[in-house]
Amino acid sequence: MHLRFSPGEEAFRAEARAWLEANLPRAPRPTELAARAAYDQAWQRRMYDSGWAGIAWPRAHGGRGATLMEQLVWCEEYARAGAPDISTLFVGLNHAGPTLVACGTEEQKAAHLAPILRGEVIWCQGFSEPNAGSDLASLQTRAVVEGDVLVVSGQKVWTSFAHVAQFQELLVRTDPEAPRHRGITWVICPMDAPGIEIRPITTLTGESDFCEVFYDHVKIPLRNVVGRLNDGWRVAMATLSFERGTAFLAEQVRLSRRVDELVALAQTTPGPRGRRRAIDDDEIARRLARARAEVDALRAMTYRSVSLAARTGVPGAEASMIRLFFSELLQRIDLLAMDMQGAPAVDAPASRWTELYLAGLSQTIGGGTKDIQRNIIGERVLGLPR
């Protein structure tokens, strides 16, 4: 065991750090959605032009083809530099793109991969439905083959950025008679197809980043099917395991920075009863120290997981433990920030800390609830019966 990165990895780190310092966007990321999407796209294009787009993507498809260790280094440097979390491009870069690389036809790859990498298109995800959340395989949005098109009718929900997206990775039921995992198809849905209606949903933060999407006899060419007809579950699982692998590395480093900021806040704001600094309060100091210890543990877990994946070539089941620990740790840290703010925590408009706390509630819901994560750990890591 060792903690040193190789000379090649250190050179890669120095190069990434220098480039990020010189090229980081100076303006803050806008809050208005369309402006935010444009900001993300401009920054992605800048990374693309300098060879930093698609760090994990194979070279043959325009990516950097970085090793797992280099991906880790890039994520550390990216978050350390305070580079923006380009959430509007997340699905394209981390879900749809890698899925097409793994399962797409040559025609699909040629049409979609380069625009995703260049930040020219926004993708959204069409997996969840009103009656298919944690139980995703029960999805009912129906698709019927008619000639060379799929005709889709039904409804999706919790679709982030549907109203600014050009494409959607869509799961539909193509064989209602088959066992439920075997009748699903993964298809590329153009969001401007006739028959699609998008209604934004206002979340508890007051934002409307995600939407309901309705499909009324929407015609999608059969050539947009990724993988085979009725083989969409396997295709989707490849995507989800990717999400549980390396996609959250940068978020973890950001969380570590958040603890640093909270320590600084504790050094300058009054404590719970106003007489001393917050950091001089024993309970707050210990909660901060525990948060620091846990963030260090998160990095250690990630290092162990990446080392293991680098050795075996596949992300291990421990990724589900990292995901669960990360999301609950984030919420503990957000809660500490709420407690430290005192009464201003309930002022409107909300402070940044209150915004983070509210937004953080989604961390144990999206991408598999914490309850589903515990099932996965119990069944796939520990081998407990279903």
Binding site: M301, R304, G378
Partner: protein, 340 residues
């Protein structure tokens, strides 16, 4: 960077695990602990022959030439087996007594050294030791004592005039405690740096807690797979499954951070003491919570003396009070923030 065990590290771990499983399974641990002197003297000599006490010493000093990472692996295994004995004091003694006549018998498994942790120099910081060190692990069967003060480490053979050991009942049936009385004994400081020794000792106590947390998890999972209620294994119920999942996360957190801290220490990283303190906090959390959950998962059986579940819990509490409680470590981690 690589935090997975390499082939040699795996071999070291497997060898230790194999010896402990064969020579001292838990049923035998109970028998050993309930008879005099409370430790397995034959195993101790065998461990000396296998080089366990000098794992972290250079080869020219009679050691195996490994470092803190391999010593950590040893203590995880000792924790898993609830192995009785003065392992911590003896392994630490190998570092502190380098260059003294006590080293050779210690490495050979003929001298067991108990550790007295005295960070605030309650026994004195000068050339004389006076007072009582309470709750010293396995003091009764020790051949010598390593007194780790705030600024100096000192070694005293158990036969030193003016030193008296009195047994003290322990909550943990597999680890005895004792009070050691010093009546103004002259003791010269050893050359070793106490901060370095204390960091290593804290790491090894954390590693022992990792072992306890892992075994409690494994026992629970094994039981949840076979124990039937309502016509199905209890591990199929989410209430039990999710508790086991939380135990697994705690064990993984503890194992990862303790491994990271050990490797950082072995590589001389400046931040190593901070990581060791954090590891001690989270490994103790994991040991205590997993051991208590393991009692719960075993239901009525878990509440009996006969079942092993309480042994892990009691060892976890002893570890909480060895080398700094969680509160003490958290306060120490916050000191630089308060000074700013």
């Amino acid at each position: 960077m690589d935090l997975t065990l390499g082939p040699e590290e795996t071999a070291v771990r497997d060898a230790i695990r194999g010896v402990l499983a064969e020579r001292l399974p838990l049923a035998r641990v109970r028998a050993v602990a309930s008879a005099e002197p409370g430790i397995d003297e034959a195993l101790w000599r065998e461990a000396g022959g296998l080089g366990w006490f000098g794992l972290g010493l250079p080869e020219d000093a009679g050691g195996a030439g490994y470092g803190a990472a391999e010593e950590m692996l040893l203590f995880v295994e000792l924790g898993r087996g609830l192995t009785p004995g003065q392992w911590l004091g003896t392994v630490l003694g190998a570092h502190a007594l380098a260059g003294t006549p006590a080293l050779a018998p210690l490495l050979a498994g003929e001298l067991r050294v108990a550790l007295i942790d005295d960070p605030s120099d309650a026994l004195g910081d000068g050339a004389r030791l006076a007072g009582v060190a309470r709750g010293v692990a396995d003091a009764g069967a020790a051949g010598g004592f390593l007194v780790l003060g705030g600024g100096a480490a000192r070694y005293l053979p158990a036969t030193t005039h003016g030193l008296a050991v009195e047994g003290r009942p322990s909550i943990d049936p597999t680890r005895r405690l004792g009070d050691v009385r010093f009546s103004g004994i002259a003791a010269s400081p050893l050359a070793s740096d106490t901060a370095t020794l204390r960091t290593l000792a804290t790491l090894l106590a954390a590693a022992e807690a990792v072992g306890v947390a892992e075994r409690a998890l494994e026992d629970s999972v094994e039981y949840a797979k076979v124990r039937q209620q309502f016509g199905r294994p209890i591990g199929s119920f989410q209430a039990v499954k999710h508790r086991c999942a939380d135990m697994a996360v705690r064990a993984e957190v503890a194992r990862s951070l303790t491994t990271f801290a050990a490797v950082a220490l072995a590589e001389g990283e400046e931040t190593a003491p901070r990581h060791v303190a954090a590891a001690k906090v989270l490994a103790t959390d994991a040991a205590l919570a997993n051991a208590a959950d393991n009692v719960q998962n075993h239901g009525g059986m878990g509440f009996t003396w006969e079942a092993d579940a309480h042994l892990y819990l009691k060892r976890a509490w002893l570890l909480e009070h060895a080398l700094g409680t969680r509160t003490a470590h958290l306060d120490a981690l916050a000191v630089p923030w308060r000074a700013a």
